[in-house]
Symmetry: C2
Subunit: 334 residues, 2 copies
DNA sequence: TATTATTGTGAAATCGGTTTCACGCCTACG
DNA sequence: CGTAGGCGTGAAACCGATTTCACAATAATA
């Protein structure tokens, strides 16, 4: 009752009148096979509807055709469309290159945990990490020779390959815009300052002041954690300590919305009394009122770039980290 | 210069003084192995830091340890945190069961495309599909014996295993609430009516009217497409044709926000003139003002349930589709 | 007590590819 | 003209597990 067994090299070799070794050569693009034999093999492959068995290939060649995408459990990927978009960009590019994406949502902190073991075991050909806080595990894996790409905030001092948004440039552009539109006192609500991304956006903010020969008051710099609530809370503090603040760069859209809520509850209006710029160009920046001005990043492109860097590494090419450009999107809030 | 090669069964067998067959038995939980030998094997495994080679296992056993999660490219997974959350729920449960998640973002329509081939080739042990429009491919794979679970809207007439939100119950509860709070004329803005989910929410709405012995006017039923803009546009139509409409059930939060925008631009207020209820309990329902009343679904639980159904199938257990409960969350808009 | 099951075990075949090696043949160089 | 180097090819080893099969030792049955 069981159907036709799938054809193997043996069947193709027989059908094409060549050895299995030659079948392998043809199917792996070894150029020095007689054209006639090549044709015969390809014809047999086609006729028999042959498909390689991935497990057998993996066992014999050591290449699994799988790339892991590791997402730290700590991150609330929940509620955050960002990572889904990045991941689908990665998946699309990998599939086009005959690689599959293995998604691992897990705690990354443990250098000796199951994930580390899994990756070390070479059950995948490479790994793409998202937004790390700690990099001990990644370093260890990289040292062990596993091709790695980091997406999101890279490490300050590492020679690891990464792809990231131009956080500095985004922070710079947002702050500059606020000053250009006439704001006199521009504050910042940072995201998680532990991450490089958070730091870089703040650096961009500071750079604008530096170029003007000014130094922002300490009280203008407040640290949030990327949540709506933290944006609201920090904005209240800001308004209390600096009633004359007239511009705010919030390091993501969610905090920007929280900040706007705080501004309006204080009786002020956006953008007339206080202008606000967010970061991400998330869907909420368009659905909120006033619509949010923000720093846009091409998120899918970020994922695609990560996948391309991975593929380049697998090919043994020389690879360099990439910073993806951002774009200021002006709507109503600034 | 190359490091220690990874130990294999051969090394363990030697170290424990048993045959490789016995090592396999111990590591696969075959109970009829002498306890002493079992202990010796486990000790050797521990000492040598042994880990199974997945490719070899897959080749020999036919099980790859991989489950595909297939997301239709057509869906804008972009901007929609929903699927990311479902996926991470799936991944977490699968990992706990020593299975890995292979993510495929691709066009699903083609019965004979690369994805179909990939899945048919048994390069994965099973597949979880998201929100299908067409099910030809899925049927074919299921018939071929591949374990399958569908997440999101299931098929009307299929005996395929699925997990879905209680769309009917959600639509019913939302509509009922609007009437209970005193609305006289309750409209609905549906989502993509092609999907079962869209239909079921509408059915829930109709059921409430039916129980009251009434039939909603045709003009109270408008079809959107889950986008913010469509919510806004359909609401404008609604207000034009039914100026006295005082309640709206929008089939997702995004459309609900669009509807609120339309209501306010007409000079009416929410919820006093028109009450609004959305669906999803997305982050936006909390950040918008007025805060949105909505139908909450436990999205991560949806993914977890899907993974569990998959695992049950792999175990050969009898499996039944599941409908996950929803909960009405009342905030300010209704 | 003789015979049949049952249990524990290892040798060897198997899964389906890849890769090394040796061989025969042909061209190029000194 | 003789030898070195290349090319195309097939036989066979190999990747690292699982599983069948045969066999010995023990327990259960008649």
């Amino acid at each position: 009752m069981t159907a036709k067994p799938r054809p193997t090299y043996s069947a193709i070799a027989k059908s094409a009148g060549v050895s299995e070794a030659t079948v392998s050569r043809v199917l792996n693009g070894d150029s020095r096979v007689n054209p006639e034999r090549t044709a015969a093999v390809l014809k047999a492959v086609d006729q028999l509807g042959y498909r390689k068995n991935r497990a057998a290939t993996a066992l014999a060649s050591g290449r699994t055709g799988l790339i892991a995408v590791v997402i730290d459990d700590d991150l609330s990927i929940f509620d955050d469309p960002f990572w889904g978009t990045v991941t689908s960009g990665i998946s699309r590019v990998l599939m086009a290159n005959h690689l599959q994406t293995v998604l691992m949502v897990t705690a990354v902190n443990n250098v000796d945990g199951p994930v580390a073991h899994y990756l070390e075991s070479r059950e995948v050909d490479g790994a793409i990490f998202f937004q790390l806080h700690k990099d001990a595990m990644v370093r260890k894996l990289a040292k062990a020779g596993l091709p790695i790409v980091i997406t999101g905030s890279p490490h300050t001092d590492a020679d690891l390959i990464f792809v990231d948004t131009d956080n500095f440039g985004g922070g710079y552009a947002a702050t500059k815009q606020l000053l250009n539109r006439g704001c006199k006192k521009v504050a910042i609500i940072t995201g998680d300052i532990e991450t490089t991304a958070g730091h870089q956006r703040l650096d961009g903010y500071n750079q604008v002041y530096r170029e003007l020969g000014r130094v922002p008051a300490k009280s203008l710099i407040r640290h949030g954690d990327y949540s709506y609530e933290s944006g609201q809370v920090q904005m209240r503090h800001l308004l209390e300590e600096n009633p004359d603040v007239d511009g705010v760069f919030a390091c993501n859209d969610l905090m920007a919305l929280g900040a706007i809520a705080a501004i309006e509850e204080s009786g002020r209006t956006v953008p007339d009394d206080v202008a606000v710029i967010g970061f991400d160009d998330s869907i909420m920046s368009r659905t909120s009122r006033p619509q949010l001005s923000t720093v846009r990043q091409d998120i899918a492109a970020l994922g695609e770039a990560a996948a391309q860097l991975m593929i380049a590494q697998l090919n043994g090419d020389q690879v360099e980290s990439r910073i993806m450009p951002v774009e200021l999107v002006l709507r109503e809030s600034a």
